[in-house]
């Protein structure tokens, strides 16, 4: 997943936040945060509820203006770009997107083309190709004429990813793309994200709740707590028993995922405290 790419013509850092202060109303959620997002990587932001991970993603997506500091997209302040230009470079999937009842899958995916359209050019050949491809790529072609409200949660999420895909941006920011999905569909959606990265070289930043899935699908984990980045690195560097205790206040063991070889968090919980075998994560991986 951390494949080496030839030195690109573009700068390596696509998104950079420095000295970021973010908040809503009177409350400051994040203060003095710095982070870089490298080209062609998949980054997962993890952390307990209310740690500011979605807030950070919203700022990177220029949905939330910074109180202080700045977000740079390809070296230029993101709020200095025309918004349509940002929308051609960076796609965002909000946490709970809403579609009006009665909207068909094809019509929804086609709305991803908005930043490429003008009022007199609303369905060009490029638009049509991109939408057809996005539908096919997410396996939603056969549902094109169904209305979105008749689909299951997993299918619906595929449609939204399809819309973001039709937008044709190199960077994708996904805010908890697996919320409300059962485990099979969570894996399904993340497989799709993995293909986006591998086959289409998209740069992905996503907020995820499931630590084990985050470790599997992201090359880099950023762990946040109380608006600060506590750990940042490869999954095996970040997911340690100490970090789980300090960040999540979770007593857990970390073993190696027998399928993916990535760290697997096994929570202890009150019921099994003291009953757990003594093998530590470090011993397991050694």
């Amino acid at each position: 997943m951390t494949e080496q790419r030839p030195a690109a013509e573009r700068p390596e850092v696509r998104l950079r936040a420095s000295e970021l202060r973010l908040g809503y109303g009177d409350s400051i959620v994040i203060d003095g945060l710095d982070v870089d997002v490298l080209d062609g990587t998949v980054t997962a932001v993890i952390g307990p509820n209310g740690c500011g991970k979605s807030t950070l993603l919203r700022a990177l997506a220029r949905l939330l203006p910074a109180r202080h500091g700045e977000v740079l997209l390809d070296g230029k302040r993101i709020d200095r770009y025309p918004s349509r230009e940002v929308a051609r470079m960076l796609g965002v999937l909000p946490q709970t997107p809403v579609a009006p009842d009665g909207l068909t899958v094809a019509d929804l995916v086609a709305r991803g083309r908005h930043p490429h359209q003008t009022w007199y050019r609303q369905w060009s050949g490029d638009d049509e190709t991109a939408v057809a491809e996005a539908l096919r790529w997410t396996g939603m072609s056969e549902f094109a004429e169904r209305t979105v409200d008749t689909l299951s949660g997993g299918q619906r999420q595929r449609v939204w990813i399809s819309m973001a895909l039709a937008q044709g941006t190199e960077i994708l920011l996904l805010d908890e793309p697996t919320t409300f999905l059962d485990l099979a569909h969570q894996v399904d959606v993340l497989d799709l994200v993995e293909r986006l990265h591998r086959e289409m070289r998209r740069t992905v930043v996503m907020v995820l709740h499931d630590l084990n899935l985050a470790a599997r699908y992201a090359g880099r984990l950023i762990a946040m707590r109380d608006g600060r980045i506590v750990a940042d690195g490869r999954p095996e560097e970040v997911l340690t028993t100490e970090l789980l205790r300090t960040v999540f206040e979770l007593d857990a063991q970390v073993i190696t995922d027998p399928v993916a070889g990535t760290p697997l968090v096994v929570p202890v919980g009150r019921r099994h405290r003291g009953a757990a075998p003594t093998t530590t994560a470090a011993a397991q991986r050694a």
Partner: protein, 378 residues
């Protein structure tokens, strides 16, 4: 499957999908293209068909409406007179006496239909029509103020009242719209907040109107009551021209701004992510809608339920996800002219058109609200 067609920044001539097994164009089901020169759009036969049927019905009902009266004229003769044929007497009756009234009905109805489609789309709330957001009530309050004060301050206001009432109504409607926006604005306008504020402003304006009707003398109160039910009775060319000019400006503006509507309906975050300036777009679209409603009220009084019901009927008719703008304008015109025809001819004595639209509209609104197989979101 390689998905090359999705490569970022794909400009003209970017590669088609390899291995897709289809050599031709990548057609998307349900979205046939219509492309002429630099223009491109989606061909929606149902939308176009329904709109054209609506236009034909408007012409037909308008011709019937013009033909009915003390001196009946056949539909054929009416249509002939409209395009310059027929005899002198018929041309005079049609063009000078009867056309202005029907044309006002068409234009006011179109303005109301479009106004409702815009405000409902922008707020994503089917109840958010200008009649319920306080615009029409604001227009009524100022109009009734002018009518009620007209009696008190003597004959001097007699002349003023002839154009004073429409102007006052227009200003009152715009003022109410401004108050709704001003109070609803808090780091952007949120649809539901606007509806709540609108309902409040509406209640205040209705209260002022009721108070004025109580304190006004009996003649003014009667005159105000007729205005308040909405009427095309006194319409002449003087009413047609202002609403015609307003529509000529506002309809193209609405259709240009509507480009952002599709994105706007996906919620604020998604719309921003798609490059839309959400607040600017929503304020502009909402103001165009409310202005249309204020113009309509200034012209013919508060004709109720057209703006509320027509967009909802149209979106079900063309099976779209949001009220179709032009179609709503066309069927708004149809409902208003049809109501005028009923008001003038089907009943023992002539009734103001606003009563008929309310009588036709209310049962439909109740039906809409009782039907739960479609969500109430837009």
């Amino acid at each position: 499957m390689t998905g090359q067609g999705l490569n970022p920044g794909g400009g003209p001539g970017h590669p088609r999908a390899a291995g897709s097994g289809r050599g031709g164009t990548a057609a998307v089901p349900g979205r046939a293209a219509i492309r002429v020169g630099g223009f491109s759009g989606v061909w929606r036969p149902r939308l176009v068909g329904m709109t054209l049927v609506g236009v034909a019905l408007v012409v037909l009902v308008a011709a019937v409406n013009i033909g009915r009266g003390d001196f009946p004229i056949s539909i054929g003769d009416v249509l002939a007179a409209l395009v310059g044929g027929g005899d002198r007497a018929q041309r005079f009756i049609v063009l000078e006496l009867r056309l202005p009234r029907t044309l006002t009905g068409v234009l006011v109805g179109a303005a109301l239909g479009l106004a409702g489609a815009l405000t409902q789309s922008v707020t994503r709330n089917p109840l958010a029509s200008p009649d319920l957001l306080g615009v029409t009530a604001g227009a009524s309050a100022t109009a009734v103020t002018v009518i009620a004060l007209g009696g008190g301050s003597g004959a001097a206001v007699g002349v003023l009242a002839s154009f004073g009432v429409p102007l006052a109504a227009l200003l009152g409607g715009l003022l109410a719209a401004a108050v709704v926006y001003g109070l609803a604005y808090r780091r952007g306008v949120v649809g539901d907040r606007m509806v709540l504020v609108g309902v409040g402003v509406n209640a205040v304006a209705v209260g002022i109107t009721s108070w004025l009707l109580v304190v006004a003398n009996i003649n003014q109160a009667a005159q105000a009551t007729v205005w308040l039910t909405g009427s095309l009775n006194a319409s002449g060319w003087a009413q047609v021209v202002p609403v015609g000019v307003a529509l000529a400006v506002l309809v193209p503006t609405a259709l240009l701004l509507a480009f952002g509507l599709g994105a706007l309906q996906l919620g604020d975050d998604t719309a921003s992510a798609l490059g839309l300036r959400v607040n600017r777009s929503r304020v502009a679209l909402g103001l165009v809608g409310m202005t249309l409603a204020a113009v309509a009220a200034a012209c013919a009084g508060p004709i109720g339920f057209v703006a509320l019901v027509v967009p909802q009927v149209c979106l079900r008719m063309v099976r779209s996800a949001s009220p179709p703008l032009l179609t709503s304008a066309v069927y708004g015109a149809l409902l208003t002219v049809a109501a005028d025809l009923i008001a003038r001819t089907a009943l023992p004595r002539e009734l103001p058109v606003g009563i008929i639209t309310a009588v036709l509209g209310t049962p439909y609104l109740l039906y809409l609200l009782s039907r739960r197989n479609r969500g109430v979101t837009i």
